[in-house]
Symmetry: C2
Subunit: 335 residues, 2 copies
């Protein structure tokens, strides 16, 4: 594991629950790895964890302070530094998903060195990589893909990992974004690698494994998103998936942040993803749909899932509302 | 122009003409920007330019010494340093396409600073970029795409620029690789940008322009190459091309460097590229085929081009052997 767990989750002084998305994601998926939360005056958000100070968190075994909130611009606010420095002095590592790098603060670097701990700038981690080869490798791989960004690919991947493990399958989530990396304790932020190495990063992330082992690779972006499709494409080829799970938000009016960009149909999106995947994985198949129905009533959600299921003859579910065991069952049965 | 021209082309001590590909490309396309060549003892390659020393090149107005050869590993050989230092001392900039960066040599950095010249590490230039938006912009754009890497996309783009200019069209080559950047004097090495910014780089490279102005964007890789398709995809979306020109090598047995990876058919490749382009450019069309026939006789080449022309009803030519005016004519006519 790259980033030592368990974590102390730093919430800063945020007042918008959405800004604590990273901390919330870690807490949902790895509650046993969260010793508590720490806040500054003015913070109105809570994950319901015990509120600790640095010595209290240290006493509970916290190994890394995680800056678990985003602020507009991704800067490191000066008034956060005191907490960060205290954590370092107490022997804790620090992990940050901010654009502004911890290692650009000489004071933090010196302190970390003196304390023998590490600073993890998740958005800037650039492992030494090779370009992708497309060579066949052992083990089974699933990739979550999407009609758009922010449709629940990480949630779906982690839910699938849990459902497959519950069925006794050997399944590992492979993180490609910062929250996922904090959940898993390791991974590669594929949108931050040099463009030539996207596929190589995905290959490194999901290497050859036992024949009955499943890697569930967290997808990014969408082949139909004008900003990020390059990342989605390289990730697809490198992951060399045997199965795809298509993630989608019910009723989304247009591509995220791009009012001029229409959504693609599920059918067109499925076909394009299967075609792209076939370049490195000839027999790739679709395992089903994970649909974010949160803007609709349960009745509407069920009706829409039934419609998708009827159109494609495959499981279609909202993993948050209805679970994802049906897709895990299909994978277990069909292998 | 980012990289000051004219150039003095440094050939080092190479003996393999292929290793001088970059220098040769510059000389073919911008002979008027090459004041001469400079070699070390043992070099057996020549571009047929006057062989100059540093003072001689300076006297002819050389503004930049270009390291125009590749060596295995992309290292900067220690015995090249003397020539580089002499050029800097004489007031010349230095441009390098090596993996090893000039700016990692403190001696060169100090010398360049003292002489008021710049060091250009083409593989490492990372302009400040935004992510792509997919928003429509004015001007006409052509993108060269390919069935594989190294099928002649740069050559085709530059040949098309020349043919369109000869017809009085306002056409500019937009470079996306290091040789292209040296030819144009500017550009963005899209395979070297952070993955999230591939499409944004292509948008920055070919900004809004006059309605009758044509940008010819140099393509990279192939949607079917397992290592680099992410770059090709992002470049496609960002370029927002009205026209594609498909580049292909006649008879290539498998994807470059990947004996396990079969070539795709022209038809499948054309369809996949048009579909991908439609995400940001609904009415994109194919303008024709540029085919590298260099491994075949002229008779075989003509027969193959005729076959492709018959299959698609569009121009199909080897730009080196037969020119590319027919595609330029089609673009001029159909706009």
């Amino acid at each position: 594991m790259l980033i030592p767990q368990p974590y102390l989750l730093f919430l800063g002084d945020v007042t918008d629950p959405l800004a604590a998305k990273t901390a919330r994601g870690i807490h949902i998926w790895r509650p046993e790895q969260c010793v508590g939360e720490i806040k500054l005056p003015g913070c109105t958000v809570s994950l319901g964890l015990d509120e600790l100070d640095i010595p209290g968190a240290k006493a509970r075994g916290a190994k890394t302070l995680v800056l678990g909130t985003a602020n507009a611009g991704g800067y490191l606010p000066a008034h956060w530094l005191e907490t960060i420095k205290s954590a370092i002095k107490a022997g804790m590592n620090v992990a940050s998903g901010l654009h502004h790098r911890l290692v650009d603060e000489p004071e933090l670097v010196a302190l970390a060195q003196a304390s023998g701990v590490e600073l993890f700038d998740l958005r800037h981690m650039r492992p030494a990589l090779s370009v992708g080869s497309g060579k066949k490798r052992s083990g089974k791989r699933i990739l979550t893909v999407g009609t758009d960004c922010s449709v629940g690919k990480m949630y779906t991947s982690l839910a699938l990992e849990a459902a497959m493990r519950a069925r006794g399958m050997k399944a590992d989530f492979r993180a490609t974004g910062q929250t996922g990396i904090l959940v898993a304790g390791e991974g590669i932020a594929v949108d931050a690698v040099i463009a030539d190495f996207i596929a190589g990063a995905a290959e490194a992330l999901s290497p050859a494994n036992d024949d009955d082992h499943w890697d569930i690779v967290e997808g990014q972006g969408s082949l139909f998103h004008p900003s990020y499709a390059g990342v989605s494409m390289g990730l697809m080829h490198g992951a060399q998936p045997h199965w795809l799970v298509m993630c989608h938000e019910m009723g989304r009016p247009h591509m995220r942040h791009l009012p001029h960009q229409p959504m693609v149909s599920l059918k067109e999106c499925v076909e394009a993803n299967l075609r792209a995947a076939q370049v490195t994985s000839e027999s790739v198949q679709l395992a089903g749909f994970a649909i974010n129905t949160s803007s609709y009533s349960e009745e509407e959600a069920l009706a829409y899932c039934a419609e998708v299921r009827a159109e494609f003859g495959l499981p279609a579910t909202d993993p948050v509302r209805f679970g994802i065991d049906e897709i895990a069952a299909l994978l277990q049965e069909r292998g």
